[in-house]
């Protein structure tokens, strides 16, 4: 590893602490005046770590039922997007890759908007299920389109992803033109990404998927490193190239689908966070994946806090794009991000 073990551990501990702090801090933001101490006490009490004369029921309800689900969901979504982006950039050996590159986000958007325009009452969790299914089906379709004779060249995969995204973008536009005014508004809010009214149920679903996927990916850190050398080299070094590609692509797609299913498409987290972490800790995925996971979570929590702070109901996707795009341009000018 480029960083010695001590430095690596320091990064992980530091970023984990940062994530905890921003989660607690973010939970202080809102109409009711609850300070960091109040939030911390409620959380410790809820975790059973504190024999404490609990704060008023009112405070507990606000923190535990309204603020924390949203904040924790934001952290999980940020983690999922940043990890998916890290995997995609390594997998495609392309600095412009992000979680949406094989069309998962576009497919989720198509599924979500289709459900908004023509809801099917029989589906449990209708909108998120439609989004997740749309995303995964699209990712799988792009993989099938780009595969020939058991080989999936990454360039073909990338181009197939671009074409399918364009097609689905047009389909979404068409559906939105046909939508009612209320449906149009819901569709736009979903497409811009919004952590809105989140519940612990949603948190549990996203947490189950994200934690499982990240743990599996951590075991493939070295394979991702070797894949960066190119497929011929990776094969010579003992990586089952096609099988690893299938697995990595599937997990990154599931992560992306889980990230967008409840909250919509949130851009730039999966593009910018991996780049920044690569600058800070180097390209070794064994360290890059966990640090990106923690940093992505913290970044999206902060972005959502800013969104709640400012004008009412600014979608968090707008904030990440406002912050992420200029920062990415800065990296581009610094030549930290290389041309294709």
């Amino acid at each position: 590893m480029r960083q010695s073990r001590g430095v690596a551990a320091a990064w992980l501990v530091g970023l984990a602490a940062l994530l905890v702090v921003v989660v607690l801090w973010s939970a202080t933001i809102g109409a009711a005046d609850i300070g960091l101490r109040g939030v911390a006490l409620v959380v410790l009490d809820a975790l059973g770590l504190l024999e404490y004369a609990a704060p008023g029921t009112h405070t507990r309800v606000i923190v535990l039922q309204f603020r924390l689900p949203r904040v924790v969901l934001g952290a999980l979504v940020g983690t999922a997007l940043a990890v998916a982006g890290t995997v995609m950039q390594g997998f495609f050996r392309n600095p412009l890759a992000d979680p949406s590159i094989v069309g998962v986000s576009a497919g989720a958007a198509a599924g979500a908007v289709a459900f908004i325009v023509a809801p099917v009452a029989a589906i449990p969790f209708g909108l998120p299920t439609a989004a997740l299914l749309g995303g995964l089906l699209t990712g799988f379709a792009v993989y099938i389109i780009a595969t020939e004779d058991g080989h999936t060249p990454v360039a073909t995969l990338l181009l197939a992803g671009v074409a399918v995204q364009t097609f689905l973008g047009a389909a979404v536009s068409l559906m939105m033109i046909r939508a009612s005014d209320g449906g149009l508004r819901r569709a736009i809010v979903w497409l811009l990404g919004n952590l809105g009214a989140s519940t612990w149920t949603e948190v549990q679903i996203v947490a189950a998927i994200t934690v499982t996927a990240v743990v599996v990916l951590l075991a493939f850190g070295r394979d991702l490193n070797v894949l960066l050398l190119g497929e011929a080299d990776a094969h010579a070094l003992g990586v089952e190239v096609q099988r690893s590609k299938q697995l990595l692509l599937a997990i990154a797609s599931i992560l992306t689908g889980a990230a967008v299913m409840f909250v919509g498409v949130i851009g730039f987290v999966g593009l910018v966070v991996p780049h920044v972490m690569r600058l800070l800790v180097g390209p070794d995925h064994r360290l890059l994946l966990p640090t990106s996971a923690l940093a992505g979570g913290a970044f999206l929590v902060v972005a959502d806090a800013v969104a709640r702070w400012g004008a009412a109901a600014t979608p968090v996707g707008v904030i990440t794009a406002f912050v992420g795009a200029p920062f990415f341009l800065y990296l581009l000018r610094r030549r930290e991000v290389y041309a294709l």
């Binding site: 480029r2 490193n225 960066l228 011929a232 094969h235 990586v239 070794d284």
Partner: protein, 401 residues
């Protein structure tokens, strides 16, 4: 470990790159794959590695078909040094060499033998680069890093694709010395090598590949014959033993047969005369030579370039037939070129030079100067110009001076 290739055919798209190739390489052998661009050298190596699937035939490693082994199993038997490697994000040299340990490292665990990384970097002399980003080292250094990675991989077989292509002379020789050492330590080594002379010097055996087939195989001196080189590369070549290493040295000449017009007869011997023949041949002249002492240095060059030559035993007055043959060649030539020296100074050769209509004498140092009468004088490099000028002379005998 034995690498055996049996009736191997490989297609890339519609073209057949390898056509029923068979070969065996045993442990301890260093086999060079030589041949022109596009002959299929890289394809052969990649198919042995299992990265390409053959259309027919098979590759076996100690009897196990490579297509039926997992990548991990193959990577424990064969290490590869690719011609190029794409590294998009900047790993350090040490990190790249550590990747050679991937086949031996459990998924959740660390390398059981991390010292091999340092040892491998030491052997290819890249230790001082350990902390440099891989994309900040030169092409030659990068090749040595990849060789270190292959050594760290610690496999009984080693496949190298142009391991010396971007190395300086010093590192070409050191690298191949190292590879030869690895073979001597009972590894099975197959290397595609562009440079015929380096291949001849270091490899135990050569496979000469042309148009997807092995056209010659065996020890370098039996493979690198002018005829085989002409078949494989479509060029004429002179093959001589290197005076220092005794390995065959190949010097290729382009075929300018189409441009042949005037005929030049050369009288003389020794290295300068050989050079003169090569220069004239290269310029497109048809060259004849004689009388040359048997075994003179020019005979190899003359034979390789298809130069008709009259030879006679040295230190002896040539017999009448020899003189007649030489006179016939000389009379048929448009210009006679004399290379001053002991060969040109024999009475028979002086008579040949004096009989010439148009003469060009190669300039040499004064003590070997030749009094050839009226003639054009030119250094050996300028011979084509001088011969062309002589051809333009209306009169047989050029003006003095």
């Amino acid at each position: 470990m034995n690498i055996t290739v049996t009736d191997l055919s490989v297609d890339r798209g519609p073209t057949t790159v390898l056509d029923t190739v068979s070969a065996t390489v045993a442990a301890g052998e260093f086999v060079g794959v030589v041949g022109p661009n596009g002959a299929g050298k890289t394809t052969l190596l990649r198919t042995i590695l299992g990265a390409l699937t053959p259309a027919s035939g098979r590759v076996t490693l100690d009897g196990d078909r490579v297509t039926e082994l997992s990548s991990r199993a193959v990577s424990r038997r064969l290490a590869a040094v690719p011609q190029r490697t794409g590294i998009a994000f900047e790993f350090t040299v040490r990190e790249v060499v550590e990747m050679g340990r991937h086949p031996h490292t459990p998924r959740l665990g660390s390398d059981p033998d991390p010292d091999r990384v340092d040892a491998a970097m030491h052997r290819t002399e890249v230790t001082h680069l350990a902390d440099r980003p891989i994309d900040a080292v030169s092409g030659g250094e990068r090749q040595r890093v990849l060789l270190a990675r292959a050594i760290a991989q610690d496999a009984p077989g080693l496949l190298l694709d142009e391991p010396t292509a971007s190395l300086d002379v010093n590192h070409q020789v050191r690298t191949l010395d190292l590879v030869a050492d690895l073979a001597a330590a009972d590894r099975t080594v197959v290397a595609a090598i562009h440079d015929l002379n380096l291949a001849a010097r270091y490899c135990d055996r050569l496979l000469l590949l042309a148009d997807g087939d092995i056209v010659a195989r065996g020890p370098p001196e039996t493979v690198l014959t002018p005829a085989a080189i002409e078949t494989a590369f479509g060029t004429r070549a002179v093959v001589r033993p290197d005076p220092l290493t005794d390995a065959p040295v190949v010097t290729a000449f382009p075929d300018r047969a189409a441009a042949r017009s005037a005929t030049v007869h050369l009288v003389g011997g020794g290295p300068l005369a050989a050079r003169a023949i090569a220069v004239l041949d290269d310029a497109g002249f048809t060259v004849t030579a004689g009388i040359v002492p048997t075994g003179d240095t020019i005979t190899d060059t003359a034979a390789a370039l298809g130069v008709e030559t009259v030879a006679a035993p040295p230190f002896d007055t040539p017999d009448a037939d020899t003189v007649d043959a030489a006179t016939t060649l000389q009379a048929a030539a448009d210009v006679t070129v004399a290379v001053p020296g002991p060969t040109a100074a024999t009475p028979a050769n002086i008579r040949l030079i004096e009989a010439a209509d148009r003469r060009v004498v190669v300039e040499t140092t004064a003590d070997t100067a030749l009094d050839a009468g009226p003639a054009r004088y030119a250094p050996v490099e300028a011979l084509p110009t001088a011969v062309t000028a002589a051809l333009a002379d209306a009169q047989a005998t050029p003006p003095v001076g």
